[in-house]
Point group: C2
Chain length 445, copies 2
């Protein structure tokens, strides 16, 4: 099927999906849950084929790990996630503004679905269940395009989802279309007439290439270059915990810290202690020449310092614009909080940044000045996550400044519409439209 | 100055503007108001030069009317608008979500400015005052690019605004940069690193060309193809008032109606009365072959019908995808509300659509099913306007489904940030991050 046809069908299905009740949408999720559960064995068998292929093709270990649905608990967690989404409050039909413009002329702003989502992801097959659940719950049609590594798993799960929608639910089966790898994604990226939002889940390269090749708005992030600034008035225990957790809890995560800025008025001993906390966790620190000098040329003078030089490298020109996604971190000195703010606003990818300080005024200045989706005080950057924020689940983390920002849950998949209810009202009778009547503009409570 | 330099300066100014208080921002608007007021004579003199040029260049009358700042009340209304915006509640720093993730770990979602806006407009010079006020009030930097027709007016107003910001306010003067016509707009449209949102105010061609030439998100609308559907159970008095107002109150407005769908079960006499109401107001009706037949071939058989045939034309292939912006309207028949909904969702530009009916169930079905920014029941489409909605003023009307939708006031110029305040909290201690702690996820009241 052509991309245009797929997108048009999704758009048509959206019209039916848009008017379903929360009960109908949630019930559909429960049916999908039951179908996937009852066919667990077949799905895991298909997944096994993908894994064998991946091993044959010498795919990286981390990718294989992501692909594998048979890891203890993974399949059940995936199923549970569908039910969790089904049980979330209805994100649609919420009145977010209600105003009496005049007698018998009432304006309401009501949350509504966006329309058609195109979700492009790489290897994780559980994304299918996750995104299907989020899309249906929020009343959006979804076109899912998976990576070739998960072809077999994807195919069987897509067949199950489509058959379930068609036979057991009020959701039209075209509301979730799962596109096999052979379809051309660039064809879909051209369908800005029918597709309202693209959500890429995968590598920076995937996101960048999609952004460069479509006029449809793209939700997500290419880079996650998160920073931590350690202020002069700080608690070394908290600082070590936060820095180590932010860097090592999951270095491949977009919310892992990549840049550490240290106030230069902190004493040498404390700076060494901070850096050693990283090194003890096998993190390679990429230090600026200034910091190197501050540490007393530790690299050249091994017997005179307390830093293990095998974990020390010098920064390069792009070290502060780099997302390592590994046990590496760029470290530099700054004079004060303002220099840290300026540095971050210039270099960061506007994902999540943290200040470590005991001084509330300095913290507030940082929180107010830093222009990123997440601004943290004395907490690990790894908290930037929809589940941790209490959103139930997330479709991704957005570094956009338009529409949803930060971890995006159901709310980020909704838009709104203005409903105006009158009784024959015309503009010509009001001031500004040619008449003399004034508007009331009273809140409806 | 290059577009890159202008955009970088705007971005730098944003960092300072972002941290100013509402009082500082509002005070800056009052200063701008006072400066423009005290130099009214010089501004009107410059405006006179633009008008003379426009007349010399045989510019259309409607454009000249828009250009003319000397129309009674126009200058004062412009000045008043600045003070109105200054007095609006602060759109920034509002807490829209507050959640205790755990003891001493609190999450807040706080409204924040977006960053740098690029506003491109055509002839209306009062837009300068309007947009400057909205941008500063919402904490965003703005780059304003005016049309060549208003060059002289634009120049003097821009000099006054910049001088006022630099000498009398806490707002950095680069927070509002007014770019003269000679600068290359395409150069600015490339600055997606520094510019966060483009807002074009002008013709469909302007908007389309901008959308086609930038990767920066564009807020606004190209077309305003609004529809009215008249249901079988309707009040003819209301219907006539609403249809005539929607079409004739200001036919060049994007919220004027362009498509009229009439339920085919309405009797001939009533349909004729509806159409005659339009014709009496010099509206040309473009009717479908089906409607023509329904009317008894009125065009060919003048003595047998009640419609003045000089105002009747037949529809063409694109009549229902057309924004006339004139005293013309496309008219067709539909079988029921569902056919009207399908027709509208297929043809409309998702701006504003209205149903005229006395049946609440039918109305609700329409309101729930139509996928447009405004969905109206028994009220003129002309109400789609920021002032009428009670937003004080507007930067434009958006047909986007991402970010702001419908009339966009200050709220549409804001984003949000997540602030997380902890006390050394790390993810490694929580479930999902390697530990055993659970999140509280309690609302903070």
């Amino acid at each position: 099927m052509s991309g245009e046809r797929i997108a048009r069908n999704a758009n048509k299905a959206f019209s039916s999906l848009k008017v379903l009740t929360n009960k109908q949408r949630s019930e559909a999720l429960k049916q999908i849950h039951d179908s996937l559960k009852s066919q667990k064995e077949s799905i895991l068998k298909a997944n096994q084929l993908d894994l064998e292929n991946a091993i044959k093709n010498h795919v990286s270990e981390s990718l294989i790990k992501r692909l594998d649905l048979s890891n203890p608990g993974k399949f059940d967690t995936m199923l549970e996630g569908i039910l969790d989404v089904a049980d979330l409050p209805d994100p649609l039909g919420k009145v977010t503004l209600a105003k009496k413009l005049d007698d018998e002329l009432d304006l309401y702003r009501i949350t509504s679905p966006i329309g058609v989502l195109l979700i492009i992801f790489e290897s994780r097959p559980e994304v299918i269940a996750n995104i299907t659940a989020l899309a249906i719950k929020s009343g959006n049609s979804a076109i899912l395009k998976g990576g070739k590594e998960s072809y077999q798993t994807f195919k069987i799960m897509s067949d199950i989802v489509n058959a379930t929608l068609a036979t057991k639910t009020d959701v039209p089966s075209d509301a979730v279309q799962l596109i096999q790898s052979r379809e051309d994604v660039s064809d879909l990226l051209d369908q800005d007439k029918y597709i309202d939002l693209v959500i890429p889940r995968g590598s920076n390269e995937l996101v960048r290439s999609i952004k460069a090749n479509t006029k449809i708005p793209v939700l997500g992030h290419a880079d996650g270059i998160c920073s931590i600034y350690v202020d002069s008035n700080f608690d070394i225990g908290k600082a070590k915990r936060i820095i180590v957790d932010s860097k090592t809890n999951y270095p491949a995560g977009c919310n892992a810290v990549e840049q550490l800025l240290i106030n230069k008025h902190i004493c040498l001993k404390d700076v060494e202690e901070l850096l050693n906390a990283l090194i003890e966790n096998k993190v390679t620190i990429h230090i600026t020449p200034e910091l190197k000098k501050f540490l007393g040329n530790c690299n050249n003078n091994n017997n005179n310092n307390n830093i293990d030089e095998q974990y020390v490298k010098e920064t390069e020109a792009d070290s502060f614009d780099k997302e390592y996604l590994s046990l590496d971190i760029s470290v530099g000195l700054v004079d004060d909080v303002q220099e840290a703010i300026d540095h971050i606003n210039h270099h960061s990818s506007k994902h999540t940044e943290c200040i470590i300080t005991e001084n509330e005024d300095v913290a507030n200045r940082f929180l107010k000045s830093v222009d990123s989706a997440g601004v943290y005080w004395n907490a690990s950057t790894r908290f930037a996550d929809g589940f941790r924020y209490g959103f139930g689940t997330e479709v991704g983390i957005s570094t956009n400044k338009i529409h949803a920002r930060g971890p995006v849950g159901l709310e980020g998949l909704t838009s709104y519409q203005y409903q105006l209810k009158g009784n024959g009202h015309v503009v010509g009778e009001y001031k500004g439209g040619g008449g003399n009547k004034s508007f009331l503009h009273k809140d409806i409570i």
